[in-house]
């Protein structure tokens, strides 16, 4: 992405995206759904396919969240953040850092849950997902403010 001069448009898009979804999520309102698919995993992508292809699909598209349902809008901002780096090497390094953090934290969360699955956890997960949604919204608003400052210095 950083081969093309898209840093400034990416920053503008980040401001719009982060402000809109940040306000929606932080206030608990519903609006446009975050970018993503409707379903968690397209079954025909991973069912009855060779093991290596399944691993490749999980690693590049499904596990990362590019082709699955995204409950929080924060994920959609991450490719824009990588695109705003301006140069190839920083963009690649930022992309690697984002992917590593996203994957590691997801792994840790799944590891935590695998030992303590209970029948009432569904209601608890709904309750906690609401709070995570607000936290995601506040984070997006902080990023929106920071991006406005950065864009102002660039112009």
């Amino acid at each position: 992405m950083n081969i093309l001069p898209i840093a400034t448009p990416a920053l503008c898009l980040m401001i719009v995206y982060a402000t809109y979804y940040g306000l929606m999520e932080a206030s608990g309102r519903t609006g446009l759904p975050p970018p993503g698919r409707r379903w968690q995993v397209p079954s025909h992508w991973v069912g009855n396919v060779p093991k290596r292809r399944r691993i490749l699909v999980w690693g590049t598209l499904l596990g990362s969240g590019f082709a699955t349902r995204n409950p929080y809008a924060g994920f959609g901002l991450l490719p824009l953040a990588a695109a705003s780096a301006g140069r190839v090497l920083p963009g690649v390094l930022l992309g690697i850092a984002i992917g590593a953090c996203h994957g590691t934290s997801r792994f840790l969360a799944l590891l935590r849950d695998v030992h303590s699955i209970k029948s009432v956890d569904y209601l608890e997960s709904i309750s906690k997902s609401m709070y995570w949604r607000v936290a995601d919204g506040v984070s997006l608003l902080i990023i929106a403010g920071a991006t406005v400052s950065i864009l102002a210095f660039r112009l």
Binding site: G74, L78, G99, H102
Partner: protein, 57 residues
């Protein structure tokens, strides 16, 4: 009895939103528009997003 929509609404969304945007603006201004600010904010967002997905029903 509150509806689900009412129950999920943040108690005071306007001050929260203004504070969050203000914090971001301040960080950006203090850093003089340094792009590394985005790195410092995007990485925690990625970590939080990955961890919180486990709670999505």
């Amino acid at each position: 009895m509150k509806s689900m929509g009412e129950a999920t609404r943040t108690a005071r969304p306007v001050p929260v939103a203004i504070s969050a945007i203000g914090a971001g603006l301040t960080v950006g201004l203090v850093s003089r528009g340094n792009l590394s600010v985005l790195t410092m904010t995007a990485i925690p967002l990625a970590a939080m997003n990955g961890y919180s997905k486990a709670y999505s029903p």
